[in-house]
Amino acid sequence: MIELIDIVKTFNTKKAQIKAVRGVNLTINDGEIFGIIGYSGAGKSTLIRIINQLEKQTSGQVIIDGQDISKLSSQQLLRSRQKIGMIFQHFNLLWSRTVAQNIEFPLEIAHMDKAKRQEKVKKLIQMVGLEGRENAYPSELSGGQKQRVGIARALANDPKILLCDEATSALDPETTDAILQLLVKINKELNITIVMITHQMEVVQKICDRLAVMDDGKIVEEGKVKEIFARPKNATTKRFIQTINGTDVEKTRQELKKLYPYGQLMRVSFTTNSDEPIIANAIKQCDLQVSIVNANINHTSSGPLGVTYLHVTNGNDAEYEKFVKALEAKEAKVEIL
């Protein structure tokens, strides 16, 4: 478990004092994939570097598995860093080393003997799917392959935590998906806690269990991904979710109201895991005319997440109520517009 308590980080430059992180409290549980999302300058890069102490916080505590790591001696810190893997946006591979030698590097740092190192490298190359590329140099690899090397390297010393610093931001959508699948596989098979910072909402949506939204050095919203997607509270969060839904909720509402001044407009968001046809079943129970006027379904790590706008006509208030009840019985959230 990673606990961040009252983390503050201030950078002193010649001209001004920059408060990158201003009082962050977070708890990240073992084995979960935790996303921290924010625009550039929100302080998320600084925050993730405080977890492995590449940056020292101005005040506050970082506690990993009960150990306050800011209290470690520099030798102990080096050893504990070997158990915290990290991957980067620009991969940060050593170009003078081959794929296999890059992956071997952290094992050399940990003073593992040569025979064991080579055995381990072989396993890691297999795990990230780079068989046959062992002797290639990074300059001969594609972006996705480079990140696979980065991941293998980060996993070499069997870490318990993997920090991902915008790990997919330099990759095309298809490669991003492949890398995300690999991260999920690692998370499941090795039970590694993954902390990822990103500005891509779709990344969080696809693989994260929980999410924190960062803005101006603070965490403005935190919770399960599905819950935040279904009911975002903070303005920054809403903006991020719009990048996925493509539309502004308020705008949609106004446009639909103009188009359908009669009947009843409903915004239905459902977050269940079942494959049950929620809307269709609710319609069967009533005698209403229901048309879907706007819909958006996203697939998160814990099942589909849908927002559907329904235009319901041909009924009275009691019937509308019955329809809403039928939807709510299936854990859908209904808003009458």
């Binding site: 492995n52 504990s80 915290i84 940060n92």
Partner: protein, 220 residues
Amino acid sequence: MSWINDINWDQLFTAFQETIYMSSISLLFSIILGLIIGIILFVTTSQGLIENKLINKVADLLVNILRAIPFIILMILLIPVAKALTGSMLGASAALPSLIFAASPFYARLCCIAFMEVDKGTIEASKAMGASNWQIITKVLLPESFPALVSGACVTAISLISYTAMAGAIGSGGLGNLAYQYGFVRRNNAILFTATAIITIIVLALQWLADYLAARIDKR
């Protein structure tokens, strides 16, 4: 082909050996000292691995001062040092201290530039893996900047060869000395041009070797 008779081949060969001796020994020491000073400059810089303003400023000043003194003056200033070390102010060995004093700060500066070219991200990644500063220097900084260090060493070697020619003016021996004493002072054009040609060939061969090596080791 009468000019060939004007050349004392034994003398020329001895001068060639002296030039190679002075250049290679001073290059070896300059690379070692330059690397050490370059590493000190790089790691103590602000945001460096072992930030230390005082050491950085002192090393920087020392390098700048030594680089500011023209070689011919440096040589004269270092005559007492040469005397103390080799017992004489003449000969190839006596030229070594001034050659090393001139080339080390030069190479240190080139090393520092080479290190600054190393991707900061790879250093950060190594820190994140728990590498010690020593491991970062030996396993990341030096290998990642190796092609630049090699071409820097070549530039330094070429400077050293021309320094050895200058050292000839105060009696160090070598091809420069030969060209000046026998070629110019005694008006023996055959010696003058032959010595010049040999120096040129050495420099060209060196540059070719360095380009070849740099291309071989650069995997970017």
